[in-house]
Symmetry: C2
Subunit: 344 residues, 2 copies
DNA sequence: CTGAAAGCGCTTACAG
DNA sequence: CTGAAAGCGCTTACAG
């Protein structure tokens, strides 16, 4: 207050370091604060003369509208929560990059959350409510109660590569069931008759779909197969391989893995521990199409998920529901592309 | 206004779906709005009785304080911008998970930006200013001008694994120079005398440090070596390997790669295209300690970056500077751990 | 410990 | 096209 005596025809001297506000710009440009606001709103009616004055002043002060204040009044934060798990192995940086690019087209930003244990989800959701996000993209599991909370709060939610039977839930995914069938068909066409199937974790619906797709097709063909429990990791596949090699009376001709990482673990173990050649002695196939699947050491036959298409669909589905919350749920499933490598 | 006649002892009937505000809670609990606010502020003085009433009401209404409104008045968004590039290959999901965990301890959230081309940076920074982030963690390159802008706006900035000679810039990194020297020392101790060095991209200061570390140590030992230009990618290493094998009069005994991905590309190519054995015919070493470096097919001798320590340091350095902007810049460099695998 | 009031930096009818 | 004014949902002196 004492400082105001220095320049008594202004409210109070702003500290030098203060971020410029629309009032500062208005004063410098000699217009009202509302005029400044309009200049930063697309499609608002402002005369060219006013706009020029305002833009000049804004530039001078390094003014940028405060998105936080804007969000408070428009009730649109232009922020979307993205929830992933630590164990997402599907070309994570690439996916994030696409996600960022697609959301940017809508002027939307990503508030990122990584959940480990299921117990974290509660805390994460609390944070999400507090930040008034416009929507949620979840690449993690939700409980029914958590989904209900989103609905009650009117926050659109789209799942990425998660499977829910409930038809009122929106999700984008790859057709894991069909993908697995495609792989099996391919192996059958190569004359394979005895199979091993390395499953993913039991609590992953995606892993179960892949398993069912493979099993269904194998049974239909009357092929012989054994299932080995895994959990998507390299080590689990290595362990299953040791178990398989020591217990099987007759070697399988092909191993169908729940994902690429497991296929890699299987191949490495077959080669290093048992001196087998891939694909001469045994075929191995994966699922996902991660970068390493193309490395010459593996050159996996696998199902490549159409990452960019899936991300694009996720974003457009979410944005539609942010614009109009009455749009009913939708499930979109993309067929994966069978990539025939040298591993089978 | 017409609607107020319906229930004239309240302001206006809130729409059913409206998110509860502190006023709603206050009304239901029969206290003032300030009292509600205090109940959600740690360390504020509220009687147990008032707190109980408020919490009960808040629970009933599903009330959570609006972090956006809070940020507006406290000038603390509790949001930090994290800028990465599409090509970060260093255990990205793991790093993000640690980052998220460490920042959560401070009640801080991540606004994620992925930059591709340098041209994107301008747009990204504009967005960052608008969102009033409390600080920036950058795993991407900044121009001098961009760094100056952060400083002018008083936004703390910490670089992650980027090298700047300017001592007024805070950064956390791995000691790439020493790491590369360690690798060379190890190879020399195994009796190697002729080397190939696969460099990373020229515009990466980190890659240059690794290169200089290796070259310095090789020169000091009087060893013979050739440098092949690469760009951190698998394909660039594969190409360099073909070039090396067709041009070198005498095969090198060891290949020093700028990162693990290149070491893998090199090994795959030596094996697949030239039928060589690793390490019997040739040693190959990498840098980073990515997950794939431990796969049996490679079992790389490499420098493992202490991811968690580095993330922890980044977060604590940033938080310190958010609390007190007068703290001078700091550079922290962690020694990498030499992991001796079977590739050398 | 508690409540009334001002204000954070915007947007948006409203009247001119 | 333009400006004065109200209000988004909070926090925080201030007075009691």
């Amino acid at each position: 207050m004492e400082k105001s005596s220095v320049n008594n025809n202004q409210k109070v001297a702003k500290p030098a370091n203060h971020r410029a506000t629309s009032y500062d710009v208005a004063r410098l440009a000699g217009v009202s604060q509302s005029a400044v606001s309009r200049c930063f709103k697309a499609g608002a009616s402002v005369s060219a003369k006013t706009r020029a004055k305002v833009m000049k002043a804004a530039d001078e002060l390094g003014y940028q509208p405060n998105a936080i204040a804007r969000g408070l009044i428009t009730r649109r934060s232009n922020i979307v929560a993205v929830i992933t798990t630590e164990f997402t192995n599907l070309n994570y940086p690439e996916m994030m990059s696409h996600l960022n690019a697609k959301l940017s087209e809508h002027g939307v930003h990503i508030l990122l959350f990584t959940v480990g244990a299921a117990s974290d989800m509660r805390a994460v959701l609390d944070q999400i409510w507090q930040y008034q996000v416009d929507g949620i993209i979840a690449a993690s599991q939700f409980s029914d109660d958590q989904i209900a909370q989103c609905r009650k709060r009117g926050i659109p939610l789209v799942f990425y590569n998660r499977v829910f039977s409930d038809s009122s839930i929106s999700s984008v995914g790859c057709d894991h069931f069909e993908g697995a069938k495609l792989l099996v068909e391919h192996l059958l066409s190569r004359g394979h008759k005895r199979f091993a199937v390395y499953s993913g974790p039991n609590d992953s619906a995606v892993a179960q779909e892949r398993l069912q797709g493979a099993v269904t097709q194998l049974k239909q063909a009357g092929a012989h197969f054994d299932v080995y429990q895994g959990d998507y990791t390299y080590d689990s596949a290595a362990a299953s391989t040791v178990e398989m090699m020591s217990s099987a009376r007759e070697l399988p001709q092909a191993v169908i893995c729940a994902n690429d990482i497991m296929a890699i673990g299987c191949i490495d173990t077959l080669r290093a521990k048992f001196g087998l050649r891939i694909p001469e002695d045994l075929s191995v196939v994966g699922f996902d199409g991660i970068a390493a699947s193309k490395w010459q050491a593996y050159d996996l036959t696998t199902i490549v998920q159409p990452l960019e298409r899936m991300v694009e669909a996720t974003v457009s589905m979410l944005m539609e529901r942010i614009e109009d919350s009455s749009i009913p749920a939708e499930k979109r499933q993309f067929g994966g592309k069978l990539n025939i490598g040298l591993s089978a």
